[in-house]
Symmetry: C2
Subunit: 350 residues, 2 copies
């Protein structure tokens, strides 16, 4: 057992629902009982090693019907984690998991806990080739899959096509841009600081990236990189005004992949941006696709293999912003909406 | 030569661009010279028999880049017509057309004119089985194709699915509803008068249709017919607030076919309705498809065969609003935006 395991057990609870911008005050880090010895009902004892914080979780803080239920107040938050198996119940059905195994899955934000084995995937650590297992939450996990699969399914990226990715230096955007580039597209992007723009260009294969905070408007920023060209493929992470400006600059038969709308997640209903340029969906024969990546779970193993191949070939970047300590989970999550991350935001050294 | 041909030749010119609601004052019916004898350059002399007026033409009155160029001021408007070949040039390449033939095509709004044969399609009048050749502009023409082809290409209509069609009593909507019904869906709709609602239910196969002008809001109208069900397929003819309300009521993996946005065509830019519920594209894995039916021209002959079969089987209705006289073209067009038509608006007895 690691040294950290000797401190008190902890959980990150959601204690209130944000109105507008989410805050660390919507969470509480609380001490909780140590798990009992694992039982037949929850036969796998785990200690979290890396916690993923992701923009989509903002939706779960809302008390509204969605594709996943809202977080309950006074209960732990939850999401993607990498965890180490500490012990297993002698009489439990552990799906082959044993003490010492590394797993990925969706789990409550409780440092040490007993869990059922379904939904946990054992990791072959050799695949990592010495890299941090946090990659399993990033390029080699849901983040990478979220970038790769809709591009493969909904668009035909190829040489001669123009792609645009908003949130170019973000977790998903940095991979989406690299995937589109690897498939031959000219790839433009937007990001929220000059430093992020430089990183996306230098490390993620973007041909040009503009800082949306310093241009006069999203349309002006787009025009500065597009130089009269139209967009064949838009990978949208931000929604709102940027999406509207892109709708006015799409090429005939263009494809828009709607991954996220981070610009809108912390807005009150009356503050939401209303899209005005959706007529172009008709006039330019566009297709607009939403998706929930977990609906394609049966394709994950093969797709992770493709991502690993691209990673090994140097075609996709490893970009992480790592915060340390389990107590950092709330601040790391809130900072996503302040643009504090380059690449995947991870909380480690728990 | 028909009796009418003895009157002066005429054209309907577009003389000004509307700001906001289009008006008959944006057009002028003018006398023009008789065509010369057909020449090698324009070897087919035609007289128009039926003129189609369609909502999409509002877009051509705007001086803006689109998938078809804007109408030029002081020049004839143009659109789908049925015309009779009056004469052909002795030395011209007429693609097999001869005097007496009936053709369909896109032509300028000039009563008698010489034209090139490319773009004209000769009609086998036997196919009509005695029905009015105006059907070639409606159910058996671009209107029917506009309803059928995107439903076939983008959605999987089948028993157990819920479809919704706005503009249910309109030219395209009445056929779209009938097609979706024939494929097994439960089909709901909206229309702009109680009479239209009754016609759509009685004649076009709709299970229930609400009058959007007498409900408190589009959402309220939708809830009244859906009774808690979600929409799998939305065939959108109106855009705006109705589209937004539908976005909030789509089922997971639902499909939206964007055919038109007639609620918005006559609005000034600052009056356009802004869509707020597009987040559901992500959260519910929706696909939204625009299209330009003429991009599928190579599929038209077979698709018209399918439409003719459905027509013969009584699965799709023949709904026309016929105005008489070439001078009626501007008013017929303007009346489209006042909801004056049930089914296809046609100008005949030219």
């Amino acid at each position: 057992m690691s040294a950290e395991a000797t401190g008190p057990n902890k959980a990150v609870h959601v204690i209130s629902r944000p109105e507008g911008m989410v805050s660390v005050d919507n969470f509480a880090v609380v001490e909780v009982d140590e798990p009992t010895a694992p039982t037949a009902e929850a036969p796998v004892q785990l200690k979290l090693e890396h916690v993923s914080v992701d923009p989509y979780m903002r939706g779960r803080m809302r008390d509204a019907k969605s594709y996943i239920p809202p977080f309950a107040l006074g209960e732990p938050g939850a999401g993607g984690v990498v965890a180490r198996v500490v012990a297993v119940a002698d009489d439990g059905e552990t799906a082959g998991l044993a003490a010492g195994d590394l797993v990925v899955g969706m789990l409550p934000w409780v440092l040490r806990q007993n869990a059922r084995p379904d939904g946990l995937t054992k990791v072959d650590e050799a695949v990592l080739g010495g890299a941090s297992s946090s990659l399993l939450l990033g390029v080699l996990g849901l983040t990478g899959l979220t970038a790769l699969l809709p591009i493969e399914k909904f668009s035909q990226p190829e040489a001669g096509k123009v792609a645009f990715v908003s949130g170019a230096a973000g977790a998903v955007g940095s991979v989406a841009g690299a995937v589109l580039k690897a498939k031959g597209c000219t790839v433009y992007g937007s990001a929220g600081s000059d430093e992020k723009c430089a990183i996306a260009q230098a490390d993620c294969g973007f041909d040009a990236v503009f800082n949306y905070k310093t241009v006069g408007s999203p349309g002006e920023g787009l025009d500065s990189v597009l130089d009269g060209k139209a967009i064949d493929i838009y990978y949208d992470n931000v929604g709102g005004e940027m999406l509207d400006a892109v709708l006015a600059r799409m090429a005939p038969n263009g494809v828009i992949i709607c991954c996220g709308a981070i610009s809108q997640y912390n807005k009150k209903p009356e503050e939401l941006y209303g899209l005005k340029n959706y007529f172009n969906i008709i006039g330019r024969s566009l297709s607009v696709h939403g998706f929930i990546v977990t609906n394609w779970a049966n394709e994950f193993p093969a797709a992770i293999g493709r991502l690993a191949g691209m990673l090994q070939a140097g075609q996709i970047p490893v970009k992480e912003t790592v915060r340390e300590g389990f107590e950092s989970v709330p601040a790391a999550f809130v900072d996503l909406f302040k643009g504090a991350n380059v690449g995947k935001m991870i909380v480690s050294k728990l």
